[in-house]
């Protein structure tokens, strides 16, 4: 086990290095705004720009710049400064993290609460009306772009502009530490909208896995033993069918913690994704690079955690 963990950790580090190198290469080879000119201001003279270029090491070869960047990231957890407002990138990301965590975890609760029961019921009631309606609905939810669903729900239900003003609208986010009520109210719509497609996906996945499991020998055996159908489904079927879902869940959480960029943008939730979106709008490269690396970190770690959990549950994985 120890060897496996070590090997897996090694892979994680390599993956992170690769991600960082690739993102750095992308942004180095394909620069947008000239950082030195930005720092210098609109009317600065070329000599000043040249000096700034030197201060920022922009006149050094790419590997030197990468080395300097990574040294700062690893040694000081320092991602540099925003071109836009000179603020430290790390600070901004950490400031935005609570909103992203709130959005992600709330949405996870919502989609599990909807997706799992629907999946189970659909599997049991295969080809009946309940199944057809819920799977049809799930297909629609999967086919709708989340940002459009967000706008639609704001148009219909937000308190400020909605035709049926029920929930707090966009841009109302408050930190939970300041006002728990406002925090909850402001996140209701983002949670539901973000969760909609996930719920649909989980329902479909569970339905598929469960109906497959219900055909397996051990379930038939359980039935033959005369166990009540409820227990057969829950104890035998769901238990097997749920394992891949736990995997997916782990990865999804990892991805969302890196910033639910579309949902955060539509609902103006000040999270990491919104930060990335704004950085893209301003071509603020240190910020884009910092948030992308940060998101990659969560995804790679989520992969690691999921693999470890698998290894713990299923010794055969450790080949």
């Amino acid at each position: 086990m120890a060897a496996y963990v070590l090997r897996r950790l090694g892979w994680t580090v390599i993956a992170l290095l690769a991600v960082s190198a690739i993102t750095f290469a992308i942004f180095y080879a394909l620069p947008s705004a000239d950082p030195a000119a930005l720092r210098a201001g609109r009317q600065a003279n070329p000599a000043l720009i040249e000096r700034i270029r030197h201060t920022l090491a922009l006149d050094q070869p790419v590997y030197v710049q990468y080395w300097r960047y990574m040294k700062q990231v690893v040694a000081h957890f320092d991602f540099g400064f925003s071109y836009q407002d000179d603020a430290p990138v790390r600070q901004q990301i950490l400031d935005r993290l609570p909103a992203t965590i709130s959005l992600t975890l709330g949405a996870v609760v919502v989609w599990l609460a909807i997706g799992l029961p629907v999946g189970i019921v659909s599997a049991i009631m295969r080809r009946r009306l309940v199944d057809r309606v819920s799977m049809g609905g799930a297909l629609v939810a999967i086919s709708a772009p989340v940002y459009w669903l967000g706008l639609l729900s704001l148009y219909l239900f937000s308190k400020d502009i909605g035709r049926l003003p029920l929930f707090d609208g966009a841009g109302t986010y408050e930190p939970i530490s300041q006002d728990a009520g406002a925090w909850f109210g402001s996140l209701v719509m983002p949670w539901v909208v973000l969760a909609a497609t996930f719920a649909a996906f989980y329902a479909r996945l569970l339905r598929g896995n469960l109906s497959e499991a219900m055909g397996e020998d051990y379930v038939r055996t359980a039935r033959a033993k005369g166990l009540p159908e409820r227990r057969v489904v829950l104890n035998h079927g769901v238990r097997t069918a749920i394992t891949p879902i736990v995997t997916v869940l782990g990865l999804d959480i990892g991805i969302l913690l890196g910033g639910a960029i579309l949902t955060e943008t539509v609902f103006d939730v000040p999270g990491v994704g919104r930060l990335l979106f704004d950085a893209i709008q301003h071509a603020d490269l240190p910020m884009i690079q910092g948030t992308v690396l940060f998101g990659a970190f969560f995804i790679v770690v989520a992969n690691l955690v999921v693999d470890m959990a698998y290894a713990l549950l299923d010794p055969r994985v450790r080949l």
Partner: protein, 325 residues
């Protein structure tokens, strides 16, 4: 059950630790598949919708003319109010106009063209690369397989939306990238989307190649002295067609949504070329009053993606040798 799913916030990512190839029997003949599909009313409706959308996209200029709408790039300042805000559906502009006074209906029609073009091109590119790499890995085995499989694993574990955003924004902001090979706009989007989706195809191709390699008819051909190239071309490839086609049908809607998402984020199709995602993004500034500008592009997107998803799902079921489950 779809195995790739990028319709969600996360966009393309590994759905399960291991994307499964659809269970497809080599003996499902096209006729049999078609018969099964015919029996599925929803699949037929979806297919009809796809045919309709493709026809509309191809004949966009004609459709716009027949609908009596203005061409998509024609700006009519007269259709704006005193503040320059767009006006809603009217007899002249059936679905209203955008903030430049351009007809939303004709723009949506032309955008369908862009959506399909990007999705088909990207999917095609992904299939070509995926099949080549997958077959090479599965057929060669050994260190080639290890290397290529690791590469695919890595790409599947990579935050591809983030990479896509990075790549697309970098390529879209300057004069293009990779020495001008990838030009901003459509090419970047196609490239990024293909990059995101080829490993899924690659894995399936690899799996199929691995198992086909062990099949008696392949072994027979090899023992008769057929060259590797010939075996791959004559025995492996034809048997790959069915699963790959079915799988592609599932990637197409995903890629349509991915293109829309990238364009929504401002790193996809660049204005003045319109795209549905970009229209929705543009509409966010005024959607509380100019609802038509937000609603119709989204509806168009929903219908197209839904049609492909319905047909793709049905096709997969129809190809399943165990019949309809």
């Amino acid at each position: 059950m779809s195995t790739v799913d990028v319709t969600r916030e996360s966009l393309p990512h590994v759905v399960a630790a291991e994307p499964r190839a659809p269970r497809i029997g080599a003996r499902s003949t096209p006729a049999l598949v078609w018969r099964r599909l015919r029996a599925d009313r929803w699949a037929m409706a979806g297919l009809a919708a796809i045919v309709l959308v493709v026809a509309v996209a191809i004949a966009a200029p004609l459709v716009v003319r027949l609908a009596g709408a203005a061409p998509p790039d024609l700006q009519s300042p007269g259709a704006l109010d005193a503040f320059g805000l767009p006006t809603g559906p009217s007899s002249r502009h059936l679905l209203g106009v955008d903030p430049l006074g351009r007809d939303v209906l004709s723009r949506v029609v032309y955008c369908l063209r862009v959506s399909l073009e990007v999705a088909f091109l990207a999917t095609g590119l992904a299939v070509v690369v995926g099949v080549l790499v997958g077959v090479l890995a599965g057929y060669r085995r050994g260190w080639v397989d290890t290397l290529l499989s690791r590469l695919m694993d890595f790409q599947l574990a990579f935050p591809i939306l983030l990479l896509g955003i990075g790549l697309a924004s970098a390529c879209s902001l300057g004069r293009g990238c990779l020495g001008g090979l990838v030009q901003p706009g459509l090419t970047v989007v196609v490239f990024v989307i293909a990059l995101a989706s080829w490993p899924y195809v690659g894995r399936i191709a690899r799996g199929e190649a691995l198992s086909l390699r062990e099949q008696p008819f392949v072994e027979a051909a090899r023992s008769l002295g057929a060259s590797d190239m010939r075996v791959v071309l004559e025995d492996v490839m034809p048997n790959l067609a069915a699963p790959v086609v079915a799988y592609s049908m599932l990637i197409v809607p995903t890629n349509i949504l991915l293109e829309a998402a990238l364009s929504y984020l401002g790193v996809g199709v660049q204005p003045p070329q319109a795209s549905l995602g970009q229209m929705i993004s543009d509409a966010t500034a005024t959607f509380d009053t100019a609802w038509w500008y937000m609603l119709f592009p989204g509806l168009a997107l929903l219908v197209v993606v839904l049609a492909f998803n319905v047909v793709g799902g049905a096709l997969q079921e129809a190809l399943d040798p165990r019949g309809r489950r």
